[in-house]
């Protein structure tokens, strides 16, 4: 018997008809027989996709990528909020009309690689940083995070003792300074060395280092495994730890000699003899972070161009200096009354900053302005009237014209009138100018936090350059890690 397609069409449609008819009468929740439930689709279910699940129009990859992007935008927004409006923020320079949040990236990069290549931060300042104030916090925190040891550079003879390191010099040598009293200047020479002061020896003199660790205990800053001597202008004989050596004058602007000392040395005496300049002695580790504290009492920060450029550049490049902090302004405040005077002073500072930029092209510069300073005016303690303007104008000039970063100590500590509060709370001395040690620690901490927030932002941005892990199909199966 033969079948024609017409019959088969009938067959197919009658089956469809029967199935549809069943669908029309079948209970929607199924037919329960004993314990079992017989299910049957409704007509719409037959021809539609499963509608009970509302499917996301995005694939999991797209959705996760979207989530990750949103997350990143929010995270970045937090960083940007900080750098745009927080009073304690680092103010980044402008570059092509926009804020250059990457300004400190090369410094942060160097910190990340400090374990193989030592990084130096040179902190210049006025009397606010004497005794190793503020620098001490920066040093401790950075060394803790990125490794490193030693206190950095010190002069052969120190008039104000450091709170970190006890330094005794057998006698006071002849000294020249680029700052302070005019009588300390050097006739016909700019050779003051990177610290802006030099000792000239013509006899035997010894210097002894010993940690001041009663309060802090011995920590990274007290250890070192190299002592670096900066000399010039003559032959110097050196004796240390039973070793001897001579630096012969080679006519260069400054000679750098590394004295190798045993690992984890804390105490050291160096005996120097001969004739010549001693620009400083640096105690450091071979890797990690070094932070130099270079206070210049009474200085307004306008003296850097008075230092031999060759000496500065030699020092900065030999020590891999990646950040120069210049903290000045306070000493001029009492003398500046008008905006014009302020602008003129700022102009001088810009010249100095640019001079330093030229000597240390690989380093970034962070300028720290004056703290709040109050004085009695018309019987009331109040902030120097020009100070808010000065801080603002200084910040603008440095970030926009000099292209360096600025940190407003004035804003960070609370702005107008803050000094009075600080004095009352024991954070500042009753001269309404200087911090107490306690106050200086707080300033150091908040400065450090601002720098490290920048570091975190940098790290965060670097992370973005790698694929996000959970989008990477090659990432290890979590089960394997069990």
């Amino acid at each position: 018997m033969k079948y024609v397609p017409f019959y088969i069409t009938l067959f197919i449609f009658s089956i469809i008809g029967v199935l549809a008819a069943i669908a029309a009468v079948f209970p929607q929740d199924g037919l329960t027989i004993g314990q079992a439930t017989l299910r049957y689709p409704t007509l719409t279910q037959m021809f539609e996709q499963d509608t009970t699940l509302k499917e996301s129009p995005l694939s999991p990859e797209e959705l996760l990528a979207q989530r990750a992007t949103q997350m990143r935008i929010q995270e970045e927004q937090e960083f940007l909020d900080f750098f745009r409006s927080n009073e304690a923020r680092i103010q980044f320079p402008l570059k092509d009309g926009a804020i250059d949040y990457t300004y400190l990236d090369s410094f942060y990069y160097a910190l990340n690689h400090a374990d193989s290549n030592a990084v130096r931060v040179v902190h210049y300042g006025d009397s606010q940083i004497e005794e190793d104030r503020i620098s001490v916090v920066l040093r401790r925190n950075l060394q803790q995070k990125f490794g490193g040891m030693g206190i950095g550079i010190v002069p052969l003879y120190q008039t104000v003792q450091s709170i970190t390191e006890g330094i005794k010099t057998s006698q006071e040598p002849k000294r020249y300074m680029v700052f302070g009293s005019k009588s300390m200047r050097r006739e016909g020479s700019k050779r003051y060395g990177p610290m802006g002061q030099t000792a000239v020896i013509d006899t035997t003199i010894s210097i002894t280092f010993q940690p001041r660790s009663k309060q802090t205990g011995v920590y990274s800053a007290h250890y070192f495994n190299q002592a670096t001597l900066l000399t010039g202008g003559g032959n110097i004989n050196i004796q240390w730890k039973g070793q001897k050596g001579t630096v012969r004058n080679d006519g260069s602007a400054m000679q750098i000699t590394n004295l190798i000392v045993p690992d984890s040395t804390t105490n050291l005496t160096i005996t120097l003899s001969g004739h010549g300049d001693i620009y400083g002695i640096s105690l450091s580790g071979e890797t990690g972070v070094n932070v130099d504290n270079i206070p210049m009492r009474g200085c307004s920060g306008t003296i850097f161009s008075g230092i031999d450029s060759k000496q500065l550049s030699t020092y900065f490049s030999a020590t891999n200096t990646r950040l120069i902090i210049m903290q000045f302004g306070g000493n001029s405040m009492p003398y500046i009354k008008t905006q014009a005077q302020a602008d003129k002073y700022i102009g001088t500072l810009l010249t100095q900053v640019k001079y330093m930029q030229r000597q240390a092209p690989q380093a970034q510069i962070l300028f720290i302005g004056p703290s709040d300073m109050t004085t009695r005016l018309q019987g009331k303690m109040q902030t120097y009237p020009i100070l808010p303007y000065f801080d603002e104008a200084l910040s603008t000039a440095l970030t926009e014209q000099a292209g360096v970063a600025y940190w407003s100590l004035f804003e960070a500590m609370g702005g107008v009138g803050a000094m009075s509060t600080w004095v009352r709370s024991g954070y500042a001395a009753s001269d309404y100018i200087h911090f107490t040690r306690k106050g200086a620690y707080q300033v150091g901490e908040i400065l450090c936090d601002a720098l490290l927030t920048g570091y975190n932002y940098y790290t965060w941005r670097e992370k973005d350059k790698q694929p996000i892990e959970y989008l990477n199909p090659d990432s290890t199966n979590m089960l394997q890690e069990k």
């Binding site: 067959f11 009658s14 199935l19 037959m46």
Partner: protein
């Protein structure tokens, strides 16, 4: 209304036309109604089915239809050229056209199927970091300028492996003068794209199908019944034995082997053997039934493969249309069991090269190349063994390439290689005396046990248990063999013959199941990461299976998954029913009254629907 039309006509990657969906059967009903109007006009019928097939393919694969059309047109044109050259006695010109056609077709296949594989291979080799680039998408964007194609990804077009093989068989059959070229393009397009077998086979050879193009519709009452039977049979296999088992047990284990115990992993492996068979053969059963209703006969694709007594027989029963295609268009051109040709050496070198990349070891590649070439050279000088050696060499190469055809990852090559090794070992074993068999088997067993003692890795433990089982049974068979030879009281009888058959079937089934480890692990993976992932899955499963088992939990597992295990037992039992029983119930079904057949169809639909909508098996941990 717009939505409804859109749903019917537009390509949606999430809802392809599958045989297991109501939507397909509504589509088929309409197609069939129209078909019943056109069926007596052959050209109209063929053209109509061509366009319906194109629509079907578009619904399933979207714009990949352009690839289908491209190879259809190019091979139709080239087919004519080959025929013309042949009739003008220009054999070398005909050969040129054939080579061109094969290059175009394999080029398309390689690009879409093997681009990631080849890119990975080159990157591994040269330490380069190339990315795939979809040149067709790029060109497409150039024409349409709306960036609709993604150039960074190459999506495998559905069914490309199948229809590429079909068009190759067309030009090759013309070349070897088995058929004449098809005059009408619409007829040819219909042959290439015929929708029941377009996406998953069977692979229809030109010489078998083209003649049907010119035959009028003819369907007997019995054939009609058989067609309906195949469709129902396929639906039950596909939905119950494949989809249900996969979703409720197998997929879970394969996706996360480490969450499951050794017993569950081993069960999943065996269940997968049933599943992959039910899935694939179920789909082709439906295709055969659907085609038959329209009066077309597609070749049988599976013949109860797990009844095979040895790996060689398995390949005569499993995916038969592919095996025959490979035999006709690869194995025999390679030289078959007579000769080693240029192709033989070419593939030995190529696979040595692939091994070089796979292992990164020049030594490994050199070993493979030299073993292959030495074997081939022994064939050249040892005339008495020549045939066997060539046959083994060529069939091994065929198995490797057959593996690669299934998917573009190392796992499929390994899978093909294991099948090739299994086949060769079987052939060698078959020709050995019992004494030699036992001697070699004992030697191997001892070696594997020693290895597993010195390197107590799960994989060696697994192998040692397996080979001890084989060895024990072989010893019994050996003793039996000696007894039958020394005394006439002990004789082979029906019982012992059945035992031998059962043993052979189980052993083959176990071996095939073991090779599935590599097969399943490589399926359905993102081609970009298929290699690593597949290998990892296989490794994890072996580790789970080869590590110490907690026997106490087995009853709990079986109890908890009782539906799964029951279906497995039922499925295998039906599979192993004697062929004459199957033929008997098939025939009797086809002779049932049409109204009864219709009622059975309705009941089966309701029945399988229960499995489609069954609650998912709850997720249970047995091992902590």
């Amino acid at each position: 209304m717009h939505n409804f039309l859109h749903h019917i006509f537009a390509f949606d990657p999430n809802s392809p036309l599958l045989f297991t969906q109501f939507y397909f059967w509504a589509f088929f009903a309409i197609v069939y109604a129209l078909f019943s109007l056109f069926h007596s006009k052959l050209l109209l019928r063929n053209a109509f089915l061509f366009f319906v097939s194109l629509f079907f393919y578009y619904k399933t694969s979207g714009l990949a239809i352009l690839i289908l059309l491209f190879v259809t047109i190019s091979d139709w044109l080239i087919g004519k050229q080959i025929y013309r050259s042949k009739t003008q006695q220009k054999n070398s010109l005909a050969k040129f056209w054939l080579i061109l056609s094969v290059c175009i077709d394999l080029g398309m296949l390689s690009f879409f199927k093997y681009a990631y594989f080849l890119t990975n291979m080159i990157n591994d080799m040269f330490g380069a970091n190339f990315e795939v680039f979809n040149i067709f998408a790029w060109a497409g964007n150039g024409f349409t300028a709306d960036g609709r194609f993604n150039v960074d990804r190459i999506v495998l077009p559905v069914g490309i492996s199948f229809y590429i093989f079909q068009v190759i068989s067309y030009t090759a059959d013309i070349y070897s003068e088995r058929i004449k070229p098809v005059k009408n393009f619409l007829d040819f397009g219909f042959y290439v794209s015929f929708f029941p077998q377009l996406v998953a086979g069977p692979i229809v050879r030109a010489s078998e199908f083209i003649p049907q193009l010119y035959k009028p519709f003819h369907l007997t009452r019995r054939r009609f019944g058989i067609a309906v039977f195949w469709i129902l049979n396929g639906l039950i296999k596909k939905i119950i034995l494949s989809d249900y088992l996969a979703v409720n047990f197998i997929d879970r284990v394969f996706e996360n082997p480490l969450l499951f115990s050794g017993f569950e992993n081993l069960s999943a492996l065996f269940l997968y053997s049933l599943q992959v068979y039910a899935d694939f053969s179920g789909y082709t059963d439906i295709a055969i039934g659907v085609a038959m209703l329209m009066g077309f006969y597609l070749p049988k694709n599976f013949n109860s493969p797990y009844k095979s007594l040895n790996p060689q027989e398995f390949w005569r029963r499993w995916h038969m249309s592919l095996s025959r295609w490979l035999k006709t268009y690869l194995y025999i051109p390679l030289g078959g069991n007579r000769n080693a040709t240029f192709g033989t050496y070419f593939w030995i070198i190529t696979f040595a090269f692939i091994a070089l990349i796979l292992t990164g070891s020049v030594v490994a590649a050199a070993i493979i190349a030299s073993v292959g070439i030495i074997v081939a050279l022994v064939g050249v000088f040892k005339k008495e063994r020549r045939k066997k050696i060539y046959a083994n060499l060529n069939s091994f190469i065929t198995m490797l390439l057959g593996g690669l055809w299934h998917g573009a990852s190392w796992n499929f090559i390994i899978w093909g290689g294991l099948n090739g090794i299994g086949m060769i070992i079987y052939k060698l074993w078959k020709d050995m005396s019992w004494h030699l068999r036992i001697f070699l088997l004992s030697l191997t067993t001892i070696a594997i046990i020693i290895i597993s003692i010195f390197f107590p890795l799960p994989v060696f433990k697994l192998f040692s248990i397996w080979i001890i089982a084989i060895w024990s049974v072989s010893i019994i068979r050996y003793i039996w063999f000696i007894l039958t030879n020394i005394t006439s009281k002990v004789k082979d009888n029906r019982f012992t013959n059945s035992l031998a058959t059962i043993w052979a079937v189980l052993q083959t089934f176990t071996f095939i199941t073991f090779t599935r480890l590599f097969f399943r692990s490589g399926s359905n993976l993102d081609p970009r990461t298929a290699n690593q992932e597949a290998w990892q899955t296989a490794q994890e499963m072996v580790n789970q299976i080869g590590s110490a088992w907690d026997l106490q939990i087995i009853p709990d597992i079986v109890a908890e998954y009782w539906q799964v295990f029951l279906l497995f037992v039922l499925g295998m039992a039906i599979h192993w029913l004697p062929e004459r029983w199957k033929r008997w119930y098939r025939l009797n079904f086809s002779y049932l009254p049409v109204w009864l057949i219709a009622i059975i169809v309705v009941i089966v639909v309701i029945f399988v629907y229960q499995f489609i909508t069954a609650d998912l098996q709850a997720f249970i941990y047995f091992q902590f």
